[in-house]
């Protein structure tokens, strides 16, 4: 079963290979993403996040989801030395963690409904579970940062979360919360690990750090990184080496 749902400013893809997963389970996951959008979208003035940002609602009066997300963001702020932060230019913006968190939750919902073999992708952040088919592993390409229809590397996975932050995001480019400016040094940063909630936020923080972000991720138990630098080198952690299909990224 395949669904492509425009939501959260991007398109969420759900691809479930098990037979017999109820359509209602997929519908519930899709509805969840719309709930997340309504609660967290900074594009929607009536969202809880927008209201908290304007001071119309206090954080402690926010919903359980909002408090959970802001708590997770605070944790990543601490772990990253401020390279990830929800406060940017007087605005509250947890987008660097919300997308991964919402996909992680949706994956748990599908598993609770009996799905064992699926992937969910939302704006380039991915969770895989199980196998695409018997004897195969999910193959996740890391987008080439400069050539739109190419991949720079391929990961092979069973259960994995993969998130990529890059210089090629639109409009509001990633900003270093410490300086207020766009970071230099990397074209993209990919983080893989057990939870997309953390992979998403770690990728954002590590992209801000530049090449030292690779070592930072290497020091986080269970997480691996692959970065493409502005001078077109690919650097990855030993943990990522075990995930790469073949021995090196594709040379194109």
């Amino acid at each position: 079963m395949v669904r492509a749902e425009p939501v959260m400013g991007t398109v969420v893809s759900l691809d479930i290979r098990d037979q017999g997963v109820p359509g209602a389970a997929v519908d519930a996951a899709v509805a969840w993403f719309h709930e997340v959008d309504a609660t967290f979208s900074t594009y929607r003035p009536e969202s809880e996040i927008s209201r908290i940002s304007r001071g119309e609602l206090s954080r402690s009066d926010g919903s359980a989801e909002v408090q959970e997300v802001l708590g997770l963001c605070a944790e990543v702020t601490r772990r990253s030395g401020g390279c990830f932060d929800v406060q940017l230019g007087g605005r509250l913006d947890p987008s660097g963690l919300v997308k991964g968190w919402s996909v992680q939750r949706a994956a748990e919902m599908l598993q609770a409904s009996g799905a064992r073999n699926f992937f969910i992708g939302a704006g380039g952040d991915i969770v895989t579970r199980g196998r695409p088919a018997g004897g195969q592993r999910w193959r996740v390409g890391i987008r080439h940062p400069e050539i739109g229809d190419r991949v720079a590397a391929v990961l092979e996975a069973g259960d994995l979360a993969v998130a990529t932050s890059g210089a090629y995001e639109r409009g509001e480019h990633i900003v270093d919360p410490r300086t207020g400016r766009a970071p230099a040094g990397l074209l993209s940063m990919t983080v893989a690990g057990p939870s997309l909630t953390y992979a998403d936020a770690f990728a954002t923080a590590a992209f801000v750090m530049g090449e030292p972000g690779v070592a930072w991720v290497a020091g986080i138990d269970g997480y691996a990184a692959l970065a493409i630098t502005s001078d077109r080198r690919v650097v990855w952690t030993p943990g990522m080496a075990g995930l790469l299909a073949g021995s090196a990224p594709a040379p194109r």
């Binding site: 395949v2 290979r17 992937f119 400069e146 391929v154 639109r170 893989a192 943990g239």
Partner: protein
């Protein structure tokens, strides 16, 4: 699953050499085309436009047994070409066209995309071709999904939604 790794300084990481490689033949990206539909990715990057291998029965014995049979997307999309509505913001106009076959989206064309201002031209030449991958679920027969930073745009999502609404009607 990635294994836990000991903390190493970055210099040591670079010195191990196994993790550092030059991307060869790094082509310069094509210039942004005039305001017509963006064409399909080249054949060398993308094979048949289905992410799901078709027809092959699952291997016996393993439990659970995932099926490789492609199924129509929930909501029963009609086949054909569907133009979304045009949405505008400070970057310009954005309008997508969906090509749907066998119940799934097989291509996304950009009928209008922002390219008037220098920043928008950059966005158009780098980000919008990448954005198509999200809807297409990685056209290469060997890749199931693509991880990459994308153009997050309410207008893109809205235009895709309006085209999907036509395909479901």
């Amino acid at each position: 699953m990635p294994s836990a790794m000991p903390i190493r300084p970055a210099a040591t990481l670079a010195a191990t050499a196994i993790g550092v490689v030059l991307l060869l033949a790094f082509r310069t990206p094509p210039a942004a085309p005039p305001a017509t539909a963006v064409t399909l990715p080249s054949a060398s990057a993308a094979a048949t436009p289905t992410a799901t291998p078709s027809g092959a029965p699952p291997s016996a014995g393993s439990s659970p047994t995932p099926t490789a049979t492609p199924t129509a997307a929930a909501g029963g999309l009609k086949s054909g070409t569907f133009n979304g509505q045009t949405y505008s913001d400070q970057y310009g106009n954005l309008q997508v066209q969906l090509v749907i076959s066998g119940g799934r989206i097989t291509d996304v064309k950009l009928l209008q995309y922002p390219q008037n201002e220098p920043q928008s031209a950059f966005i158009s030449s780098h980000a919008l071709p990448l954005l198509r991958e999200e809807v297409l679920q990685a056209q290469s027969a060997k890749i199931d999904a693509i991880s990459g930073a994308t153009f997050t745009s309410e207008n893109y999502a809205a235009s895709v939604q309006s085209a999907l609404d036509l395909a479901r009607a």
